[in-house]
């Protein structure tokens, strides 16, 4: 009897308490940001953001504001909007290249790191132009266009896998540097993938062209789906072969040779040849082997050139230093980076041709 009374009181109290706590956010009364952009403008942070307007289907709008820090941007946005801004569903963060070169100052990195409202799958990209310009183009596209574009390229084209988690992983982790995909506006005014940006600490130091980023993907990514176009000399004539790697793996190894450490990379790739030139008869073993050898040479050389380029710029997106850390008990980052310019790279590629003549 007393128990029942207590229970009733409890239930009543819970109801009262929980209705008192109600702070519902109705979807029509908030603005949900899907893409954020950051630029540097006159020493201030210029933020731009895309949100959907639910009054019309698939219509998006852009908002621009300037402030000193990342979160004070929201104040600048809210000053201009009729509903409160919510950014939990942000999917892409675009960083203008001026800001990237100046450094993702601790402010931006720390807000990306501390903000529990961002998912780890958010993709961060560097744009060749102002981020605002990219967003202005994205505004005219269907919702989440940019995210799908990036995701598609990461999953089934030549862009190495990155997201917010990998950015923070590389930024805070010792012995590796951050790499992020790059986008640009092509002359037609459309958004296009444009290789990779390599950072040193928080500053963008190097831009890799699309071909170099393909080799980077083959080196660092578990997903080996990539497409390459390489020349092949048949008799007197040069033909162009288009190949797609579908799976494979990369093995790294360290060897000490006469006080000069050697880093060995072994790439095993399973490929499909898409366009078969008429000059080759791919049902013949001899021609297949020739093709295989040519492709192996092409990838090995390209990869080695990439590694040398990275070495010259003193950046290490491949995480060679981190790999050596696992092997060496007395590893120190500074000491390794002093040794880094002297490292010797050996790349060995093994290509297996699974199919030929498969058109896309």
């Amino acid at each position: 009897m007393i128990m029942n009374k207590a229970l009733t009181i409890c239930v009543l109290l819970v109801i009262i308490a929980s209705t008192g706590c109600e702070r519902a956010r109705i979807i029509d009364d908030i603005l949900i940001i899907s893409t954020k952009g950051y630029d540097l403008k006159d020493g201030l942070l210029q933020g731009s953001a895309i949100f959907s307007t639910y009054a019309e289907k698939d219509k998006q709008d852009i908002i621009v504001g300037e402030a000193k820090t990342v979160h004070s941007l929201f104040m600048a946005y809210n000053n201009q909007t009729h509903y409160p801004i919510e950014y939990d569903k942000t999917m892409v963060v675009v960083i203008g290249h001026h800001l990237a070169k100046k450094g993702l100052s601790d402010n931006l990195i720390s807000s990306l790191h501390n903000d529990q409202r961002l998912g780890s799958k958010v993709i961060v990209v560097v744009s060749n132009q102002e981020a605002k310009k990219i967003l202005q183009v994205e505004k005219t596209k269907p919702p989440s266009f940019l995210y799908e574009l990036l995701k598609q390229n990461i999953e089934s084209n030549n862009t190495p896998h990155t997201n917010l988690h990998s950015l923070l992983y590389q930024y805070f982790g010792a012995g590796q540097d951050v790499y992020l995909p790059c986008i640009k506006l092509n002359p037609k005014g459309l958004i296009e993938m444009d290789g990779m940006a390599i950072f040193h600490k928080d500053r963008m130091k190097l831009h890799l062209n699309p071909l170099e980023s393909t080799f980077l993907k083959l080196l660092v990514d578990d997903n080996k789906i990539a497409r390459v176009n390489f020349p092949l000399l048949v008799g007197e004539k040069t033909v162009h072969i288009f190949a797609q790697s579908v799976s494979g793996n990369t093995k790294m190894n360290v060897k000490n040779q006469m006080n000069r450490p050697q880093i060995l990379f072994k790439l095993s790739l399973n490929c499909i040849i898409a366009d078969t030139p008429l000059e080759l008869n791919l049902s013949q073993k001899r021609d297949i082997e020739m093709l295989q050898k040519a492709m192996e040479r092409f990838i090995s050389k390209g990869t080695k050139d990439l590694l040398t380029k990275l070495q010259k710029n003193n950046v290490d997106p491949v995480g060679i230093a981190d790999f050596v850390r696992g092997k060496d008990r007395d590893w120190e980052e500074k000491e390794f980076m002093r040794m880094y310019p002297d490292l010797q790279f050996v790349v060995d590629t093994e290509v297996k041709i699974l199919q030929t003549g498969v058109g896309e």
Binding site: M3, A6, L7, C10, L13, V14, A17, S18, G20, C21, R23, D88, K89, H113, Q116, G119, S120, K121, H165, S166, L168, Y169, Q170, Y171, F172, G173, A174, Q176, D322, F323, R325, G326, K327, D328, R329
Partner: protein, 364 residues
């Protein structure tokens, strides 16, 4: 002499497993990794393993002392005499209040940081009412809840498959790269994964055939050791070292990567499912307080329970700064460490000396 607990109040022997296992799953499991990683970096899992093994010894000691079915109040009386033993038992009440209060407050902290930035008092009131309802149901209800908690935590454990796709096995190397003293110091910090089961000192008489339940208690500790070693391994492989050190809630952060076709952000569901996991770790200590009060001062739980909950409510709303919350958690894990790994072995030694003395006296 004490009368035995009535048959209708006791729980089955194997329920010990659920009671012990669920009382280990505090808010600590959401973010223990960076606390330990400060000292041993990639060797976190070794420290967890060491602490797990030591905890088995503690369980063995507790069972040696508690046989045949007694509770800690009788042990205190036997070892320390009525007066000193009574004081220690009163301190035990404060200790249990502290751990349940820290549990409630840190769970509220997680909700505030991750989901709703509400005021502490609203959330605390809700939790306190739920706890009142559960604890007033008695020990068997608590056991049932522990059972549910274990089932849910095992389900949540499956979510580790998702971060498993993004691991870098190289992070584990080089193994054993730290001195033994570093490992031991880190093991001390790892104790926060293994404290909470000490309420068994109180509810022991409520277990049917309690003497035979030791294998279930050991199984629970073994399970916790293996699961947390696995969680540490995945965490080390998922985060880079520098990143792990700046990540406060590593286990929770790992759920941020999960994306299901029908659900983009699972961490919110994870946090609320976790309520059912931590409820036993809060309720069992509170129930233990009422039990001690009933046995020592003959205060009925109906009176003592609201009183205890009021204390917990007031103290938890007094803590509203983040620094204070961190201090509370540090303080709680320090106290728990010294209670479980210091006081219990001490009591064990005292118990055996006293037993020898009594035996010698009887013989002469």
């Amino acid at each position: 002499m004490e009368q035995a607990i009535k048959e209708k109040y006791v729980v089955s022997t194997f329920m010990t497993y659920f009671l012990v296992y669920s009382s280990l799953k505090g808010v600590g499991i959401l973010g223990f990794q960076n606390i330990i990683a400060q000292y041993v970096e990639q060797d976190v899992w070794i420290s967890v393993l060491i602490t797990g093994l030591i905890t088995h010894i503690i369980i063995w000691m507790i069972y040696k002392m508690l046989n045949p079915s007694k509770d800690v109040l009788q042990i205190h009386q036997f070892c320390l005499g009525t007066f000193l033993g009574g004081i220690m038992s009163c301190l035990l009440i404060l200790y249990f209040i502290l751990i349940s209060m820290a549990g409630i407050r840190s769970y509220i902290g997680v909700i505030q940081l991750w989901v709703f930035p509400y005021q502490t008092r609203e959330l605390a009131l809700l939790l306190i009412l739920i706890i009142y309802y559960i604890v007033s149901g008695g020990f068997r209800v608590l056991t049932g809840l522990s059972f549910i908690g274990v089932i849910i935590v095992s389900g949540l454990f499956l979510l580790l498959i998702f971060p498993f796709q993004y691991i870098h096995a190289n992070n584990l190397l080089p193994v054993f790269n730290h001195s033994f003293s570093d490992l031991l110091y880190a093991s001390k910090k790892a104790s926060l994964l293994f404290v909470g089961f000490e309420t068994i000192l109180i509810y022991f008489p409520f277990i049917k055939d309690a003497q035979k339940s030791n294998k279930w208690a050991h199984l629970a500790i073994l399970n916790q050791t293996l699961v947390e070693v696995l969680v540490s391994l995945v965490t080390i492989m998922y985060f880079s070292q520098g990143q792990l050190l700046v990540t406060d809630m590593a286990t929770l952060s790992m759920t941020r990567i999960i994306e299901l076709p029908f659900l983009e952000r699972i961490e919110f569901i994870f946090i609320f499912m976790f309520l059912l996991v931590i409820i036993p770790t809060i309720c069992i200590p509170i129930w233990s307080c009422t039990r001690i009060l009933k046995k020592m001062m003959h205060i009925k739980p109906k009176i003592s329970l609201p009183f205890i909950l009021l204390i917990i409510f007031i103290t938890s709303i007094l803590i509203d700064e983040r620094v204070e919350l961190e201090f509370l958690n540090d303080f709680r894990s320090e106290i728990s460490f010294y209670f479980v790994y210091g006081y219990i072995p001490l009591l064990f030694i005292l118990f055996f000396i006293k037993k020898k003395v009594v035996k010698v006296k009887q013989d002469t």
